[in-house]
Amino acid sequence: MPSLNMVKALNLALNEGLREDEDVVIMGEDVGQDEGVFRVTENLLKKYGRDRVIDTPLAEGAIVGTAVGMALYGMKPVCEMQFSGFAYQAYHQIEGHMSRYRNRTRGRYNMPIVVRMPFGGGIRAIEHHSESREALYAHNPGLKMVVCSTPRNARALLLESIRHPDPVIFFEPKAVYRAFKEEVPDEPETMPIGKAQVVREGSDITLISYGAMMRPTLEAAADLTDDDGVSVEVLDLLTVSPLDTETLTKSVAKTGRAVVIHEGPRTCGVGAEVVARIVETCFYHLEAPVRRITGYDVHFPYFAREQAFLPGADRITHAARETLAC
């Protein structure tokens, strides 16, 4: 079991995807010769050649649009958007075709496409390089919206996404890319899409998050246990759509209290959906209002202000304490 950072773990999954299925191709800006601006595609061009690892011209709409065409012909493209902030240029292809083709043709054409994109703040990047808009894709029928949070689940979820018959938007928290290492099994490992994970068990309160926010969330959980003697359950959603309501319900029915945490804007964000689901499925177990610790409804600040802006463990413990005090 090698110990890998997330970049290497993702690279491993891509390598496995390319190796096990000839129809898998990788395409995007600077993914070949340059091996990706974050080096996620390291060595892949060398290993698989120009027909499998494709440096495209600079046009996100056409990356997804031509991937749709390739998928129609039976291939399984794995596209990279260099940053999630440039995926809007492809949104009409994602919404209009990638998410619709199967339904439109009543299953005649599948869209086994993965669109990978680094998202989120924390790496001192310029404008349009730090946002979190998973809710855009969660709101879009026909897509699966996956967010990894550690090297191991990144590899397992990406490999599963590549094998998946339906289109997957795959968000990679770039603040985690090189933040830490984790043991990743040698043998191909996958995790199911649509399943949340209980990453810490507890009985007093549930903290719900995903992506880079898992780290301050787990930190807050540890603080709450250490400092306040609270038993904290922590869920990593992993798939934001379809949401794993069952795991959510089970946990909150037990704890009666929840805080949901994400970086993206609050209004109509994933947090809103989580609250609505909890209300629908365990209203009578709720002992306190479910709180949201999220990015505010403003544009992600330029990086001089980002550390102050990003939700950290303090804000989460504070919200948890307020929830516990109800």
């Binding site: 709409g61 649009g65 339904n103 439109r104 009543r106 026909g142 649509g194 309501t245």
Partner: protein, 365 residues
């Protein structure tokens, strides 16, 4: 060290073979055999009569808003006839004739306009895509299909259609950029019918031709008389052969005219002069081809009448089939979205089912 004119080094041509009086340019005559000529005629006529029928069905309330194609039959049939079944055809939304030629059941064509997803259910074995509503968004797919063919080492071709208006969309540009760079076996057909709803071609771009846009992508371009089935057939045959042989993509501009409203919801009197329409009515591809075949002795009133009867029978059968399949189950909107229906959708499906039962709706249209 210079001030010099740049010459763009790509093939850019104009082609016309059969004029509006049905007179052929002998030097350019592709010399198709009689059966092929008669088949071309039969297919164009079928397209015309099917179009008329769909218009009538709209007026009868049997289908919804319909986008007719009167005047554009030649570009449909003469391009489609250059393809083999292994080639791919990616339509815009005004290609019923192409679909018919490619083997789509007539009732499937009708179903799209009737409001049924069944109209997008491309029959197994036919390598086509269904109607694409957001204009130009199908063009990157053409490039993608062709690119996949090239990667897989196939000697096949992807051919796509687009309107003149749609050439202004970014998707057009990106599709041709990628097609040029990867030198894919694609043929891009612009059906320049002079109008994008009410917006005239001259106000769509300041370029004198749409064909010349090819130069920006370093690929060959050709403008053809889009009401001349022989010119279209020749130009497309060349483009398809070139693509098949690994010679890369071609952009074809077929200059034609929409002789009728944009859709049945449109009133062309608001934006164009009926006199212009009259001019173009004389250039109708069916008139000139009919004349040409008669001059050649391949067609007379009797054969024409027999052909029409036969076609009408086929169309009528399509209508019957369409009518017989109008009961649909609204609950199946959950069924095809994903290969496996996720838990949350199953619950929503159950919720919908319960609602329909309470409301007394189960199936219907």
């Amino acid at each position: 060290m210079a001030r010099k004119k740049i010459t763009v080094d790509h093939k850019l041509e104009y082609l016309a073979i059969l004029d509006e009086h049905g007179k052929i340019d002998d030097g350019l005559d592709p010399k198709l055999d009689d059966n092929t000529l008669l088949e071309m005629h039969r297919l164009m006529l079928t397209t015309r009569l099917l179009d008329d029928r769909l218009l009538a069905m709209q007026r009868q309330g049997k289908i919804g808003t319909y986008a007719p194609i009167r005047g554009q039959e030649a570009v449909q049939i003469a391009t489609a006839m250059t393809l083999t079944p292994d080639d791919w055809m990616l339509q815009s939304f005004r290609e019923p004739g192409v679909c018919y030629y490619r083997g789509w059941p007539i009732h499937t064509i009708m179903q799209f306009w009737g409001g049924y997803e069944e109209g997008c259910t491309v029959p197994e074995g036919i390598n086509d895509t269904p109607i694409c509503v957001p204009v130009a968004s199908q063009f990157p797919h053409v490039t993608g299909v062709a690119w996949a063919m090239k990667i897989k080492g196939k000697e096949t071709v992807a051919l796509g259609y687009i309107g003149d208006g749609a050439t202004s969309e970014g998707d057009f540009h990106e599709a041709l950029t990628f097609a040029g760079v990867y030198d894919v076996p694609a043929v891009f057909v612009i059906v320049n019918n002079q109008w994008a709803i009410s917006h005239p071609r001259e106000m769509q771009t300041r370029a004198a031709t749409l064909a010349q846009k090819a130069g920006g992508y370093g690929i060959d371009g050709i403008q053809v008389d889009g009401n001349d089935p022989l010119a279209i057939y020749v130009a497309t045959t060349e483009a398809v052969a070139k693509a098949r042989a690994g010679g890369g993509p071609t952009l074809i501009e077929a200059v034609t005219y929409r002789l009728i409203m944009h859709t049945t919801a449109d009133d062309p009197k608001k934006y164009r002069d009926e006199a212009d329409v009259k001019v173009w009515e004389k250039r109708d591809p069916l008139i000139r081809f009919d004349q040409y075949l008669r001059d050649k002795g391949l067609l007379d009133d009797e054969r024409d009448a027999a052909m029409r009867d036969e076609i009408k029978k086929i169309i009528k059968e399509g209508v019957t089939q369409y009518e017989a399949n109008r009961d649909v189950d609204p609950r199946d909107c959950f069924k095809y979205l994903y290969e496996d229906v996720p838990e949350e959708l199953k619950q929503q499906a159950a919720e919908f089912d319960a609602a329909l039962q309470r409301e007394g709706v189960t199936i219907g249209h």
